[in-house]
Amino acid sequence: MSSAIKLKRRARGERPYFFADPNVDKVIAMVMGLAGEVAVMRDRLDTLERLLERTGALQRADIDAFRPDAEVVADRSAWREAFLGEVLRIVEIEVEALANGDQDRYDNAIALVEQRDVTPPSRAAGKNPARGKKVAPKAPARAVRKPAASTKVNKAPASGAKKPATRSATKKQAVVRRQPKPVAKKRARR
């Protein structure tokens, strides 16, 4: 169906951004892109209804008069719930992480695997994991300076109280942690 030829998508020339944070511009572009596709879908539905009406298969007034029975309501509710679950997944994982006790900083996992020797937790705690010179320079900087980003699993009020002490505390946890999470793997390089 589609020809192998792909037209250029980007116009040559620096793209202006208008807000202090260009991500705002980008989010707006996404919203308008979505709005466009909603409009396309709406037109398509409208076409469908009109065609069906023309063939006599449907009266559009019947659609407006349609009252879902209990079963349909239940079906739709279930679908909507699942749908919202997908869309709002990002919000839920935070709470899930809390429930699982999976509150380690990701840096701890890095620190763990980058250690040269497997050392007892008490030794590893609080040490710069980068002392082995093979370690990539970026990792320690991140481990030391960056507080958890807002979506990180461990930025939860529960651990907030102990903040100054957490580094060593969570490091200890990292070492003894039982279940590595697939979530963490996906997040590995951002």
Binding site: M1, S2, S3, I5, K6, L7, K8, R9, R10, A11, R12, G13, R15, P16, Y17, F18, F19, V24, D25, I28, A29, M32, G33, A35, G36, E37, A39, V40, D43, R44, T47
Partner: protein, 392 residues
């Protein structure tokens, strides 16, 4: 609630790429999006300026802003203007994308249609693969059309023309008429009204793109021989197929308007439509000089553009200037500040015979006499075109 503008469908012709249901819906959305910005968002900038920005400036400077730059320096910090700008830019990108999709679907087949004009109107097409595309067209893709006017994806490619033809209709929200020909039609109408005795035998259209503005001259001057040039081959291939299908004889050739291969004094009328602002300082002077060389004594050149900034309120100039930085129109601002009498004079014309005018849109006039429905968008100069020209 304002009534929606009357929807003016684009006239079909064989070269125009067919669209699927959803592709059409997507283009319609972009058109509505642009229309909404023009009618409901654009004007808010002035309110923000008048009620907030200007009073603040006056308090701190003890005077009103004098130049469009002073206005700009303040307005770029206004969230309203930022939102307006990002929406407008986004609408432009969505416009191109929505017009590219139907072209991309099966480009080789569409190009085949272009290669074989079905009807013989008597026009011609002369391409020059060796012609160099001017730097001012390769530096950035003008008004954000990816690949610009000239990029070719396969031999005999007219994709840029296919995309452009539909995009102009969306961009102008149908307000240039079903054939996107309002600029040419308006100048032709102006000529017939103001120079009823002027009967050009040979007409040349510079930077014709797909010939939107070229064709109305054939209708207005049925005896004239019509030539049209452009630097971009994809535009010309499409223009030729389009004109042949619409039954209008036009001789298209791929040439740079700065230096053509036509003979001295070989034209009575030379026109261009929104070409000048897409060139460059040196080029604009070359083009006027070339017009002078090509016109016979008594002949006339006419260039349609948006009005110069001269004497314009700094806020209006600021808004008109939006495209310079935000829509890949680098020469827009400067071209609006060139003194046109001087331009004429440098090109060899008698500045006493120079003229500038705001002329009514032919499409608008036709609509108004037909019905009261036409709402007249504020786009494209609110139903008026600015012309600059010179008699030789």
């Amino acid at each position: 609630m304002a009534k929606p503008l009357a929807v003016h469908a684009q006239a079909e012709h064989r070269a125009l790429p067919p669209v699927t249901h959803d592709e059409f819906a997507r283009q319609e959305f972009v058109r509505a999006f642009k229309e909404h910005l023009v009618k409901h968002v654009h004007g808010g900038n002035r309110a923000v300026y008048e009620r907030k920005v200007k009073p603040a400036f006056e308090r701190s400077h003890k005077r009103a802003p004098k130049t469009r730059f002073e206005v700009r320096d303040q307005m770029v910090h206004e969230p309203y203007y930022q939102m307006f700008s990002t929406l407008l830019r986004t609408s432009q990108e969505m416009m191109w994308s929505s017009c590219q999709k139907p072209v991309e679907r099966d480009l080789p087949a569409l190009n085949e249609v272009i290669a074989q004009p079905p009807r013989k109107a008597g026009g011609s097409l002369r391409l020059n693969p060796a012609l160099e595309i001017p730097r001012y067209h390769t530096a950035v893709d003008i008004h954000c059309q990816p690949g610009g006017y000239h990029v070719e994806y396969m031999p005999g490619d007219a994709s840029a023309g296919m995309v452009y033809d539909r995009a102009v209709h969306v961009y102008a929200m149908g307000q240039m008429g079903p054939y996107n020909n309002d600029m040419g039609a308006s100048i032709a109408m102006w000529l017939q009204r103001h120079h009823p005795d002027f009967k050009p035998q040979r007409i040349l259209d510079l930077g014709c793109s797909v010939g939107h503005s070229t064709l109305p001259y054939a209708e207005a001057f049925p005896d004239a021989e019509i030539h049209a040039i452009d630097v971009a081959a994809p535009m010309l291939r499409y223009a030729h197929a389009r004109a042949e299908d619409l039954g209008v004889a036009v001789h298209y050739s791929q040439q740079n308007a700065e230096h053509t291969d036509f003979e001295d004094g070989s034209f009575d009328l030379i026109v261009s439509h929104i070409l000048l602002h897409e060139t460059a300082e040196r080029a604009i002077h070359n083009i006027v000089r070339e017009c002078h060389r090509l016109l016979r004594k008594g002949g006339m050149m006419i260039h349609a553009e948006t009005p110069p900034y001269k004497g314009m309120d700094p806020f209006d100039a600021f808004l008109l200037d939006w495209d310079t930085r935000n829509n890949n129109e680098p020469f827009w601002a400067r071209s609006h500040e060139i003194d046109l009498k001087t331009l004429s004079k440098k090109g060899g014309f008698d500045p006493a015979l120079e003229f500038e005018d705001l002329i009514p849109s032919a499409f608008q006039v036709a609509q108004a006499s037909r019905s009261q429905k036409f709402q007249g968008g504020d786009f494209g100069g609110g139903g008026l075109w600015f012309i600059y020209g010179n008699r030789k």
